[in-house]
Amino acid sequence: MSWNRASVVGAGLIKMGELFDQSYEQMAKGAFDAAVASVDRGFDPSLVDAVFVATQRGTLWGQEGIAGNTVTSAIGLSGVPSTRIENACPTGSDAFRIAAMAVASGAHEVVAVVGVEKMRDKSSEEGLLARAAGGHPIFTRGESAPVLFAPFATRHMHDYGTTREMLAAVAVKNHHNGTLDPYAHFRYEVTVDEVLASPPVCSPLHLLDCCPQTDGAAAIILTTPQRARDFTDTPVHVAGFGVATDHPYLHEKSTYVGLPVTTIASGRAYGMAGVGPADIDMAEVHDCFTITEILDIEDLGFVEKGKGGVATIEGETALDGRIPVNPSGGLLAKGHPIGATGVAQLTECWWQLRGQAGDRQVKVRNGFALQHNVGGRGSGVSVVNILTVNP
């Protein structure tokens, strides 16, 4: 039996992109309004009795000390309890998980999760790339975001014969999916040759192996399964979730061909939901880089370890494949506004499970969707949420 003690009754996001014309606050309001508008029987925002704000890196837009109140003020709910959550790349998915627990505990009946991130208000050099100068002054110096994942590509290629063409197949698939997603940052096709010929960023990863820096926001409204019936006939329930951690330095990894945190987190989520990988109809997984999706689909149990590249080239993860992965376009095409990313992935799962995903709709057989993020120093945090339409 699935956990099913919290239910999604509304979800929405804003068009992702370089949103130079929108403030953090405007993006938050845009996403929250979209979630409110999505509720089948209408929704009065004053029903929200707690807000969980997912923002990973306020420093990127010059707000080092943001707290939950920035968002409640922006969405017209000043006075309502609000807490900001930060947990690296899984920030949005972890805020969702905590919101679900807040509902299940009985402490709050109706909560909103608002994920919002400004990635482009600072130049790349001063923004995300400055990460290469952060952390330990020697042991992590030069550790840009691709450095967290590219060593796994080096080793995966060495140990399993994974090729750059297999990595490129992830980008080709997700960019194709992105052309079908009106909210995606990038809405154009790429070819394997284009990925291979794109400029090298962090060998063996090239530019089109990397997700963009994207401004964006997404929001979800959660309530109890009982109360959900007031808002919709087709709520989506939280079937299970799992979190795991690993040591924060790259040299402390037990393996460089997988991320055990993902396996542990998903094991916990599968157990809670009472399902296995074969029961999942579609997955939104963390494809910050092409190699990451290959690691993910192996670590989540969708394909055998070492076979992620071959499975991708053979179309197993395409929209009409055995296990569609990242129908939204993923981080590679839809974008990766960090705090919003997990919330946006969950929004895609909500659409897919309810049959509202338009041209990119996948076939829902068992009623389960999986959402996954991994990140943080040493990619040492993974969060997996499983949603279901089954009561």
Partner: protein
């Protein structure tokens, strides 16, 4: 001439040469001048006088078959210590893992500093104050732009291990002579060293008379080898003719690297240490000439490495060298290190960072690095550790190469996960020059490099270098 006291032997030598070679012709061309033959040696972006000195000293200690803990004293001569005022001597001691009571005495002030350091070390051994002494002479000038020093000065370091008694070579007491004359100069607040007087004036009125006078007092015959100063690529040969010096052991070094300043005298002698005979080692700088006599009975360990290392190096463009020296900078702000050099973190962690230390779990034996951020063993969860030195060699587990980076980083910038030969594992930057050859399983060594110059302060740590193809 003073009496030298007991005999002092040289038991090992080592050299440290920088990565880059700069063609004189290219520098001259940039300033609208013609001509210029040969190259000078220049530091890469992560090298400087400390990293060259560590390389030379580490090599000399190994060549001598000594252990760092045996070193009773360290003398370090250079015009330009890594910190104009700061912990230069303790940083060098930390990177060499010397005993806590042994830090470097820094001798500076002019290019005579190298021989001054050698004399001080020799005197300490002769006096019985140090059974084993290490002397390092190094130069990494920042020459003033557009001046003659740009095509003259070359960066390098050299080190000798000295012990009381006999050995493959002995070093005698000094002979010295001076006149108060200003040749090259750098004042407070000046980044670059410049020529203060006309070159011919220095040549005719200071350099040649002073050195010729000094040399007359030295015992020499036709078989004597000479290490002579050569500040401009010509004066060395002129001086040799005046002295009737047939064998100029310093000439190949000057030809390969340029005028290595404080390092020149000791470095120029190393080539003669491979065969028995007498070598007169003459240094010059700041209006002073000093000489010591080395008598070689048998090849000095480490001396044979000089020739192959002189042939190494990578040709670099003038802008690349200017950028490496900090004389050409990108506009706008660069990315600052999250931890400023004044942070308590550096006080806490410097001994571990500079000494490349690890924390070995007393329960399971796993080495946790860096120790300061690991109060709990990553492998077994125990919390008792012993401080250990990490192995300096290992193999590549996995790696990446950053191909594009914001200033102040310089790409290609590898990051490498290494299994060290003692079973510990580290993640560190790799040398840019190692980027093309990196592969899983490749043998590597840890080398000291400058990671950053942060808010004006140099920050040092270890990097991963491929060992394949390197002279050993």
């Amino acid at each position: 001439m003073t009496q030298g006291g007991p005999s002092v032997a040289i038991t090992g030598v080592g050299v440290g040469f920088p990565e880059l070679r700069l063609e004189r012709r290219e520098v001259n061309g940039a300033w609208g001048r013609g001509g210029g033959r040969g190259v000078v040696a220049a530091c890469g972006h992560d090298e400087d006088v400390l990293t060259l000195s560590w390389q030379a000293a580490d090599s000399a200690i190994r060549a001598a078959g000594a252990q760092p803990a045996q070193i009773d004293g360290l003398w370090w001569g250079t015009c330009r210590p890594p910190f104009a005022e700061g912990p230069s001597g303790t940083y060098l001691a930390a990177t060499l893992a010397l005993r806590p009571d042994v830090a470097a005495t820094v001798v500076a002030g002019s290019t005579c500093a190298g021989l001054d350091a050698l004399v001080a070390a020799r005197d300490a051994v002769a006096a019985g104050r140090a059974a084993t002494a290490l002397v390092v002479a190094a130069e990494d000038l920042r020459p003033a732009l557009g001046g003659g020093l740009e095509t003259a000065t070359g960066s390098a370091a050299v080190a000798y291990v000295l012990v009381a008694g006999d050995g493959p070579a002995t070093v005698g007491p000094p002979t010295s002579q001076w006149m108060p004359a200003l040749d090259r100069y750098r004042g407070d607040g000046e980044a670059g060293t410049r020529e203060a007087y006309d070159g011919r004036l220095i040549r005719e009125e200071v350099f040649l008379p002073l050195l010729a006078d000094l040399a007359k007092s030295l015992a020499a015959d036709e078989s004597t080898r000479w290490s002579l100063p050569d500040p401009d690529g010509r004066l060395g040969a002129v001086l040799a003719r005046r002295l009737g010096a047939a064998e100029l052991s310093s000439a190949p070094v000057a030809a390969a690297l340029g005028d290595t300043g404080s390092a020149a005298a000791m470095l120029g002698a190393v080539g003669s240490f491979t065969a028995p005979g007498r070598t007169q080692v003459v240094g010059y700088g700041g209006g002073r000439a000093t000489a010591v006599t080395c008598d070689v009975a048998a090849p000095v360990p480490g001396a044979d490495l000089l020739a192959p290392l002189l042939d190494a190096g990578t040709n670099a463009s003038y802008p690349e060298v200017l950028r490496a020296r900090g004389q050409m900078r990108a506009q706008g702000e660069t990315v600052e290190m999250a931890v400023p050099p004044g942070s308590a973190m550096f006080v806490r962690e410097n001994p571990d960072l500079l000494g490349l230390r690890g924390a070995r779990c007393t329960a399971c034996g796993t080495v946790n690095t860096p120790p300061g951020v690991h109060p709990t063993c990553t492998a077994c969860g125990a919390d008792q550790f012993e401080d250990v030195a990490l192995a300096r060699t290992g193999t590549v587990v996995t790696f990446v190469v950053n191909q594009t980076m914001p200033a102040p980083f310089i790409a290609p910038l590898p990051l490498v996960v290494v299994d060290l030969d003692d079973g510990s594992r580290v993640q560190l930057q790799g040398l840019s020059s190692s980027a093309p050859g990196l592969r899983i399983g490749a043998p590597v060594e840890m080398v000291l490099r400058r990671y950053a110059t942060e808010r004006g302060v140099p920050v040092y740590g270890w990097k991963v270098a491929l060992t394949e193809g390197r002279p050993t």
